[in-house]
């Protein structure tokens, strides 16, 4: 056991200390940081030139407009000449001239390009309301008459919920989960296969197998790689938590989060559940298969090709989920949710959709755990032979050869 930990520790440290791991883990944070930074800089530099000034000889009219919406407006400029001057210096996108001539409200926009859709809608809305209030006042209507005139027809959609149809939270959870499983599987399958394949046929393996058993070494390697995966997940969870805290303290993002709080809670509930167990077990079984693929390459130089069979299987599982995301009751989905290598994609889908009971989940988990144990035991027993030999047998020939040796 002690030697297994020595191998685990060495594998873990070697991966963690590599530049590729650092870039892999920090990559998404750097990308997000870079995007936010560039957006911020761009927004800051462009914000003043995108503003619109509101100018009117009627101060109440101007005040009411600004009161309705002040974002994107330059409230300091109050005259046409000042607005024109600011436009000439590219500090202003345009100005809106509001007037009230003979009980008719009018707005004239002057700018170098069309009004933005939001500003146009906002202005039309304001003008309609203002004109209507004005009209009611001029017509001397009673409150009852005003209410009757304000009455509008109603159009409402009533959609019957079909079985198997995911709501928004389910859809978001589904995509986050399968994408997360897919990315982690593909990334670490390659790492595991290359880690093992680079040792293939080297004499250092002979030295190692004269020091510890092949099974112990194999388990140590796999555990080391799993710890690296765990490290990355923990870093992302911490990063996610830090980003959430940042957003909650950000004046501009907090309202957005509060608005979608129930959706965020539902998605987190779907993700931080037994689905994480499926994710982790899925990663384990794919990593073991990847290690086997690495061990059956002809020579260490073929390490880059080693992960191909596993990557193909992982991609197949990922893309196979697409047609069924709105049809979780399909027989194939039910079958695949029990099949190792696929259950990590399909059972979480069914769990998110709420179409599976506890017993079915337990059976699927037991099948997956048994497959992992059998698979690890089989490969552990073949590992020394596979790692020490150098021949040109294919993946499938090795598999058949292994079975014959077992029997």
């Amino acid at each position: 056991m002690r030697k297994t930990w020595v191998v685990t520790f060495e594998t873990y440290l070697r991966q963690i200390k590599s530049w590729s791991f650092l870039f892999m883990v920090l990559g998404p944070f750097l990308m997000i940081g870079l995007t936010i930074g560039i957006s911020y800089l761009s927004a800051n530099s462009a914000s003043s030139s995108k503003q619109v000034a509101i100018i009117s000889t009627s101060q109440p009219l101007r005040r009411d407009y600004i009161k309705q919406q002040d974002s994107g407006l330059n409230t300091k400029i109050t005259t046409v000449s000042a607005a024109k001057s600011a436009m000439g210096k590219n500090h202003l996108a345009g100005y809106l001239l509001l007037s009230d001539n003979q009980q008719q409200i009018r707005a004239d926009y002057h700018g170098s390009s069309q009004m933005s859709r939001a500003l146009k809608a906002q202005t039309q809305n304001f003008l309609s309301r203002y004109q209507q209030a004005h009209n009611y006042q001029q017509a001397k209507l009673t409150t009852k008459q005003q209410r009757l005139l304000a009455r509008t027809p109603v159009l409402q959609q009533h959609i019957e919920k079909k079985a198997g149809t995911a709501n928004l939270a389910k859809t978001i959870s589904f995509w986050i989960l399968v994408t997360m499983i897919y990315i982690i599987l593909i990334t670490y399958s390659s790492i595991a296969a290359q880690e093992i394949a680079s040792d293939k046929g080297t004499k250092i393996m002979e030295i190692i197998f004269s020091s510890t058993t092949a099974t112990s070494y194999f388990v140590g390697k796999i555990t080391g790689i799993l710890l690296v995966i765990l490290t990355q997940i923990v870093i992302y969870l911490l990063g996610g938590w830090a980003a959430f805290q940042f957003a909650m303290n950000s004046a501009s993002l907090k309202p957005l989060i509060t608005q979608y709080q129930s959706l965020i809670d539902a998605v987190l509930h779907n993700l931080l559940s037994i689905n994480l167990v499926y994710l982790f077990l899925g990663v384990i079984i794919y990593t073991i298969l990847a290690a086997y693929s690495g061990a059956v390459v002809a020579k260490a130089e073929d390490a880059s090709k080693a992960a191909q069979p596993v990557v193909m299987l992982g991609m197949f599982g990922f893309f196979a989920t697409f047609p069924f995301q709105n049809n979780m009751d399909a027989l194939l989905v039910k079958i695949l949710s029990y099949v190792p290598f696929f259950s990590s994609y399909f059972m979480p889908m069914r769990i998110i959709n709420g179409t599976v009971n506890g017993w079915e989940q337990t059976i699927s988990l037991v099948v997956l755990l048994a497959a992992i144990a059998l698979f690890a035991g089989y490969i552990g027993s073949q590992y020394q032979r596979l790692m020490l030999q150098t021949d040109n047998r294919s993946f499938w020939q090795h598999l058949l050869h292994g079975w014959r040796h077992q029997s």
């Binding site: 030697k3 191998v7 004499k203 250092i204 030295i207 197998f209 004269s210 020091s211 510890t212 020394q384």
Partner: protein
């Protein structure tokens, strides 16, 4: 004691080992010689359980198992280390796999680097070392945990005479510590200098087995070294001389057909006078090796 009894190994249609038996007692060195493909590495792989074989191999009277790994030092034929590690990391990693703690091993590293005159410090990366220095680091990895069973596959290959002497000394030290040592070599001089016991394999079969003297004596004293003013042509006329080799001007090696002719040649060559060199010996190991290989080719 390492005991190998009647081991045989077949790869598909090729017989790699046939009924090979020998012992390596503690505190003794056994040299395993043979041409390339004779079965030396297969013997080592069988001892280490890398391959399945027929027959029995025991270490200290029990079948070798993972419990014995910590007492084994193994140097494979081709050299291979983890090139991205430093010397210290590599030595400590492999020593920890032998159940030694890093705390025990680290203080010994500088002493071993000095003993093998490795050009580099403990912080040097393996990748930055010359091939010869990498080989020395690998030797240190094999020896630093004081193994009781030392298996060295072609340990002298690629070492210059100075470094070969350093290795010889390390092997002798391990023997003095009581280790059972088995090594293969193509250099008969090293084998002669180190071995208590010798086994020669030819196409997987054992063709020689015994102490150096026993093996040489099997062939009789058919080599006669003389220093004389006789010419090579004249020497061939002597009775029982099959062939004459000129070693240096005036120094010859006479191959005899029968060791018994020695006294007659001595009488005729000296005529009762002083002679600088007259030494009748069995064939050298090198010659025996060539003879045995030649038998197969004949």
């Amino acid at each position: 004691m390492l005991s190998i009894q009647h081991i045989s190994k077949q790869f598909d249609t090729v017989k790699a080992l046939t009924d090979v038996s020998f012992d390596v007692p503690n505190g003794q060195i056994l040299g395993l010689i043979g041409q390339n493909g004779a079965g030396k590495s297969t013997t080592f792989h069988s001892i280490l359980n890398f391959i399945k074989y027929d027959g029995t191999i025991t270490w200290q009277s029990h079948p070798l198992s993972s419990d014995d790994f910590d007492t084994i030092g193994y140097l494979p034929e081709e050299r291979s280390l983890m090139t991205k590690l430093t010397i210290e990391q590599q030595i400590v990693y492999l020593a920890r796999l032998k159940n030694k703690s890093a705390k025990d091993i680290r203080p010994r590293i500088d002493d071993w680097l000095g003993r093998f005159a490795v050009k580099g410090t403990r912080k040097s990366r393996i990748n930055d070392l010359s091939k010869g220095n990498q080989q020395k680091v690998q030797l240190i990895c094999t020896l630093i945990h004081h193994p009781k069973l030392l298996i060295l596959d072609e340990p002298f290959s690629g070492l210059d005479p100075v470094n070969a002497d350093l290795l010889k000394q390390a092997i002798l030290n391990a023997r003095d510590d009581g280790a059972a040592i088995i090594f293969s070599s193509h250099d008969m001089e090293n084998v002669s200098a180190l071995c208590d016991h010798l086994v020669m394999l030819r196409k997987g079969e054992m063709v020689l087995n015994g102490t150096l003297n026993e093996v040489r004596s099997q062939f009789g004293k058919t080599e006669l070294y003389v220093t004389t003013d006789w010419s090579a042509t004249r020497l061939t006329t002597l009775p029982g001389v099959a062939d004459v080799e000129t070693r240096q001007p005036g120094q010859y090696l006479l191959h005899l057909t029968d060791p018994a002719v020695g006294p007659d040649i001595f009488a005729e060559l000296t005529q009762g006078h002083y002679i600088e060199e007259f030494s009748q010996q069995p064939p050298t190991l090198d010659e025996i090796f060539r003879m045995k290989v030649g038998e197969d080719h004949a």
